[in-house]
Symmetry: C2
Subunit: 273 residues, 2 copies
């Protein structure tokens, strides 16, 4: 099943726009997990089992796995396989923020979509749509392009005015009009910038989903983000939370605590749809 | 030794602005290498030994290693260690084109600078300098920011006019004026755009090196690129060639053939300095 279809089905089935960010940090794991052979996989498995019925997607950020070296990448691959085998209805998004020239992107496509078996990946727009063709050509996969990022300094480049409009609006328009020919593109739009999110939704219409980081530790407001980005059908958002959910407790009860936080956030999001 | 100092010393010692791109592709390796346990490492070792006295840097692109899964990453790590141990004067640049929010960049820094022991890394500018602080704070390492990329579609975003100047010029100016406070920034400028390279050199002056992809398979002209980018001291460039050198032959003589091509290209570059 292609990513877009799988995502829409998960929104409906779990009545949820919540995505749990699987970003394990060895320093922050519960002590009894830290000493296991594959601590990231053990931790993720418990978080996944506790939250799979209340999310629309899982999103590991590859940087946290790479920080552990090849053992981290092995555990990322196992995490992806575990989700596909156990919860085949839930898409897995790799937050990798990749983009190179075409010839090199072929190799990234092999790694991300084939080796790691991801359903979607995040991409930088700076090299343009021509360079991204190896990703865009994979009609079954999601190509989630950075448009307005959640960080405080996002505006340094993204707010530069081009023909009187900020650069991020041009990115949104280019993706919608010329990169999304296969219907497999989405955008990253930070919860920390609700006014910008609203403008982007107006530009691209209801067909393109937004991956929304920035809720929780980064300070984004749930009500403002949902109201700014939701489509007329009440969906169209993949609202990510990592630290606020996966580190809700670092005791033996970390998985139950994560479940409680996930349900709370899912319900809060649903209030404003 | 910090990257900037190491690079300048390698330019002088080997009288070379040439960088060899270590981008192994299993399909293109000589048959007798392909069947070894660690074909990428065996291939790289032979190429490195054959060219180390004629280059100013080696540049593996991480995508080619990731395409092989964790075994590829292991071989990348071994390649980096081998260069540091055997040719400690030659810097190793990881072409990884990374950039995420600050918290996540901490994890990339651990992977790239500590685990893989790279001297420098390529970075996307889209999230701005604030997000890149974890990289920029590593004064001893090179932060090579994408400015004007070598691909045919580079202009889609990079040529957009901001205050009458193309976006890539703004990136060059921002990096020079506000990101390079530690003197550890460089720029990626494609050989396929010599006029743009000349403009960028005028903006940033002589202190910032350019990593120059696009010679060879991508069609960039050596004379035009060198003349456009060289500093008043006759250096300032890291001119990369991968396919034209490492696949000069796919027989038993691949390393000698690579050496011959590397020497030829080094000498051609030197003609125009």
């Amino acid at each position: 099943m292609d990513f877009t279809t799988k995502l829409a089905a998960a929104w409906a089935k779990n009545n949820s726009l919540l995505c749990v960010g699987l970003d394990p940090d060895i320093e922050k794991l519960p002590a009894f997990i830290k000493n296991q052979d594959e601590p990231f996989f053990a931790f993720n498995k418990a978080i996944i089992d506790a939250t799979a019925d209340s999310v629309c997607a899982f999103k590991p950020n590859v940087a946290f796995y790479e920080a552990l070296g090849t053992s981290g990448i092995e555990q990322l691959k196992k995490t992806s396989s575990y989700i596909h085998e156990t919860y085949p209805d839930i898409p897995v998004i790799l937050d990798a923020k990749r983009a190179d020239i075409g010839n090199t992107n072929d190799a990234y496509v092999t790694h991300i979509f084939d080796y790691l078996a991801m359903d979607a990946v995040t991409l930088h727009p700076y090299l343009g749509g021509e360079a991204l063709q190896p990703f865009l050509a994979r009609k079954d996969k999601g190509c989630i392009v950075l448009c307005r990022t959640s960080n405080p300094g996002a505006g340094e480049l993204q707010d530069l005015l081009v023909d009187g409009k900020p650069l991020y609006e041009h990115v949104a328009r280019q993706v919608a009009e010329t990169w999304n020919l296969q219907g497999n593109c989405q955008l990253v739009v930070g919860a920390t910038y609700p006014a910008e999110m609203k403008a982007i939704r107006q530009i691209v219409g209801d067909d393109m989903a937004f991956l929304v980081p920035g809720i929780g530790a980064q300070g984004g407001d749930v009500e403002q983000a949902v109201k700014a980005g939701v489509t007329s059908k009440g969906d169209g958002l993949i609202i990510n939370s990592a630290r606020g959910i996966i580190y809700a407790s670092n005791g033996e009860d970390f998985a139950e605590a994560a479940r409680a936080e996930a349900l709370k956030l899912r319900d809060e999001i649903n209030k404003y749809r």
